[in-house]
Amino acid sequence: MEIIKHDLVIIGSGLAGLRAAIEASRFSKGKLDVAIVTKTQALRAHSVCAEGGTAGVLRVEEGDSFELHEWDTIKGSDFLADQDAVELFVRLLPSELIQLEHWGILWSRRADGRVDQRPFGGHSFPRACYAGDYTGFAEMHTLYDTLQKYDNVKIYEEWFMTSLLIEENKFKGITAIEMKSGNMHAIKAKAGIIATGGAGRIYSFTTYSHTTTGDGQAVAYRAGIPLKDMEFIQFHPTGLVPSGVLITEGARGEGGYLLNKEGERFMKRYAPKLMELAPRDIVSRSIMTEIIEGRGFKRPDGLDYVHLDISHLGREKILERLMSIREYSIRLNGIDPIYEPIPVRPAAHYTMGGIHTDTYGATPIQGLWAAGEVACVSIHGANRLGTNSTAECLVYGTLTGRAATQYALSQSSYSNVPLDSIQMEEKRVFDEVLGKEGGENPFEIKEELRNLMDKKVGIFRTESDLKEAAKEIRNLKKRFKNIKVVDKSRVYNTNIIGVLEIENMLDLAEVIAYSALARTESRGAHYRIDYPQRDDKNWLKHTLAYYTPEGPKLDYIPVRIIKWLPVERKY
């Protein structure tokens, strides 16, 4: 047990975390003592899996405009986005993209040496800057490399955050397990930024990394911070069957077709204007409709699929712009997309909801910010447009990094951390959880939870399914109390980290099921078969879920609308 002191602690080393760290170092001119706490190695965050691109208005001369990007985002969000946040976000983006370019990212270029942009789903202008189909990877590594410029940043690799230390609504620090030694440490800080990413691993068929278990959201939730809009889980239309590996939307942006069993471009029935480039919620629902109505290809394990055909794009274009998805489909399925269509099906991809923050990324707790997928500023509303996720990480990394730096510099001294809560946390993890000697295998509970979420809280939801899911999750939580932790060793104990992750996943699954059950309308990614219409009169509001020991307590706040009133959403 050791108490470490830092000015600013950033939890998570993905795009948003790294961007925040760079901004903090840059803004304070290297004076601020920054710590990054990450449960993986610094370069292994899930952000590397982002493929398609990052949107931004760069070519005003060619007809793009901030207004248009705002409109696309708001319309894509099914009008649940907070429009002041969208305005801020869109206007800050171009400089972020150019800044990344200056830091060395290899954006794909036009022949004249300028940054190229590709079309993307839901955008009315090709405004997605991209680096082949490994954009997230390129951005992550550029930011990580740029971070090496600064000596004031200390990265705590493979430290698992277990709780936030909050007293009198003020952020004091965090407790974390150092996996290498197995000891619990407290990090005392003036300011904190949570940037731990999404929670999609609670689904079984997903594009998420194994490590994306929503730890930040769950820890904040248990610390009393409300979670916003958790019922909105985006399903990416094209997850590779059967592994769930992401096949980028860029494949459709470059001109790929979605084909059903009859070889028909079925999107003409669902989005006659934008076809395959409709927003993701619409395309996902269309694919699922095709599959349910029997026009998909059958698979014995139930993962029926449709075809994504990019073979007509030509070898050159695929090799240059879609090289990784070609690699994945060859390696995992033995299919070369230059010649054959790729089997795809919708997969859980993004958590629109997250920690409740204001327009600038600040949480209700003083001195604590949240950035990236873990937060819900609400830019994405009910459905995120492709390319806006990496964009959000960059913009909100910068904003929160700067705000937290200002705050930390204005605080003259460290306040004391609550020692008793640290000891309690240490006791909880190492005595209660590590000492568990029940009969259940925790990983089987995880497996059951993930299958349950896929089946009952998927793309199409009904009241009875959601009720059953909520009941089942309660049941799993009960069973979770009776697990057995086999590995009692302290050194690099992945067993206990796994158990703590499952605990987080169970909490979040419950929030998702309850929020979804309460929202009796269909909006964006949340589609209720029993309430298929959008209900602006009753439901143009954000869900807030508060932690209580009995389960989530729901509350609602209005959407901030400053530009456009909701209209019918048609593509």
Binding site: L319, M323, R326, I330, G334, I335, D336, Y339, E340
Partner: protein, 143 residues
């Protein structure tokens, strides 16, 4: 990773052992150590030539047929070391290793690609021919 690419599918097969160049590296190092020791003994002995009596005794010690295998190993080592060394000089100056390019799955590395292999085989073949010639001479002489 080596790959068999048919028209439609490319299926990866995984290597069971490391590449040839890695083994050449160990050979280069072993022959190098041998040649350095040979060289220092060689110059030390050869520099005794001014003393006629001493030289005569050295000649009887090292000039007899039991030392021929040693000479043959020396020739072999120097040929292999030289041939491989020549390849290393050329590749370190940027020849035969290709240029950076767009990687295409299964990502065959160009630095240990065709050109480099060809030059390695040519140089090693020349070395082996010379070794065989030397072997012939030694055998001829022993007979």
């Amino acid at each position: 990773m080596s790959i068999t690419e048919t028209k439609k599918h490319a299926v990866a097969s995984y290597p069971k052992r490391y590449n040839l160049e890695r083994y050449m590296f160990f050979i280069q190092r072993a022959t190098g150590i041998f040649l350095v020791s040979y060289f220092y003994i060689h110059i030390f002995i050869y520099n005794q030539r001014i003393d006629a009596a001493l030289w005569a005794s050295i000649k009887t010690a090292f000039g007899n047929p039991t030392m021929y295998p040693m000479s043959f190993i020396f020739v072999t080592a120097i040929m292999i070391h030289g041939a491989n060394g020549l390849r290393l000089i050329l590749t370190q100056l940027g020849f035969f290793i290709g240029k950076p390019k767009l990687p295409v799955y299964p990502y065959p590395p160009s630095s240990i690609g065709k050109a480099e292999r060809v030059i390695l085989f040519i140089l090693i073949s020349v070395a082996i021919i010379l070794i065989i010639v030397a072997l012939g001479e030694f055998l001829f002489f022993i007979r």
